[in-house]
């Protein structure tokens, strides 16, 4: 139990560092609201090394902490909606056993953006953000594939490593 808490702390710290690193990168993809989501790499790894419950906890803790440090209340609400939806989908797909890490992560990316867009539509009380949906879908697949590929490599090297 104690080692598990320690590992969880390390993961939270790493996820926060990744969020911070990403906020430093000035690259804009030309489309507002799209970023790599480097911190989700930790969420995917924890989902595979531990379980969905801990991955969800990590995702929520990271979003709230990094939101207070680098973002604002809006970014917390959006990221939380995206993070929770994305994690639920990833947990289901992983549980089905029919997808590899890369596919699971790609689906996570897609539903992360979908969740955020749903909150945006509710917030501005319009369906007009809907035309933005395909752009977010494609961006979600691409970033999800990148994160998934990285996660696969990390998991391969951590195969014998046990958390807590």
């Amino acid at each position: 139990m104690r080692t598990r808490a320690a590992y969880f702390g390390v993961f939270t710290a790493l996820a926060l560092i990744f969020s911070y690193l990403e906020s430093l990168i000035p690259i804009q993809f030309g489309i507002p609201g799209i970023k790599l989501g480097l911190a989700n790499l930790l969420t995917v790894i924890l989902l595979y090394k531990r379980n969905a419950k801990e991955a969800l906890l990590l995702s929520a803790v990271r979003v709230i902490l990094s939101g207070f440090m680098f973002g604002n209340l809006f970014s917390i609400v959006y990221s939380l909606a995206g993070g929770i939806l994305s994690l639920l989908v990833m947990a289901v797909l992983k549980g089905s056993g029919k997808f590899s890490v890369i596919g699971v992560s790609a689906a996570g990316g897609v539903f992360h953006n979908t969740g955020q867009l749903m909150v945006a539509m509710a917030a501005v009380e319009t369906y007009r953000v809907g035309y933005y949906f395909p752009v977010l879908l494609i961006a979600g697949v691409l970033t999800g594939l990148l994160i998934g590929t990285a996660a696969e490599q990390v998991l391969k090297r951590l195969e014998k490593f046990r958390f807590g």
Binding site: I31, N72, S100, A123, Y131
Partner: protein, 117 residues
């Protein structure tokens, strides 16, 4: 990667393509109108054919010029709406989430494929 991964990716890309197709091939009108809502309520609408500058409440400034509507200033910290491109096609919109301002085009000019969308 497993075969299912590829199927998943293909499905997502197909859905995006369908949405983009709907966006590009919807019927079109000549004279576009920029319709502005703040917090879900209609604030006003202006034709894109006349150049003008409009203050949207206290937080945003919209400029209509050359048939396009563009958000040029906002008081929010992230400036996402200011960074969005000028809009002219039907269904396109500029959204400022912090101020709950939505500018959308009703009945836009002829569509043409551009680099981003």
């Amino acid at each position: 990667m497993k075969r299912n991964d590829w199927i998943l990716i293909a499905v997502v890309l197909a859905v995006s393509a369908i949405f983009l197709g709907i966006h590009f091939f919807r019927p079109q009108q000549k004279d576009g109108i920029a319709e502005v809502t703040i917090d879900g309520e209609v604030f006003g609408s202006w034709p894109l054919s006349e150049d003008r500058t409009i203050e949207l409440g206290d937080g945003n400034r919209l400029v209509i010029e050359g048939g396009k509507a563009d958000m040029v200033w906002a008081d929010c910290p992230d400036k996402l709406c200011v960074n969005q491109k000028a809009i002219s096609r039907e269904g396109e919109s500029i959204i400022c989430l912090p101020n709950k301002v939505v500018v959308s085009v009703v009945g836009g000019e002829k569509r043409e494929v551009d680099a981003v969308t």
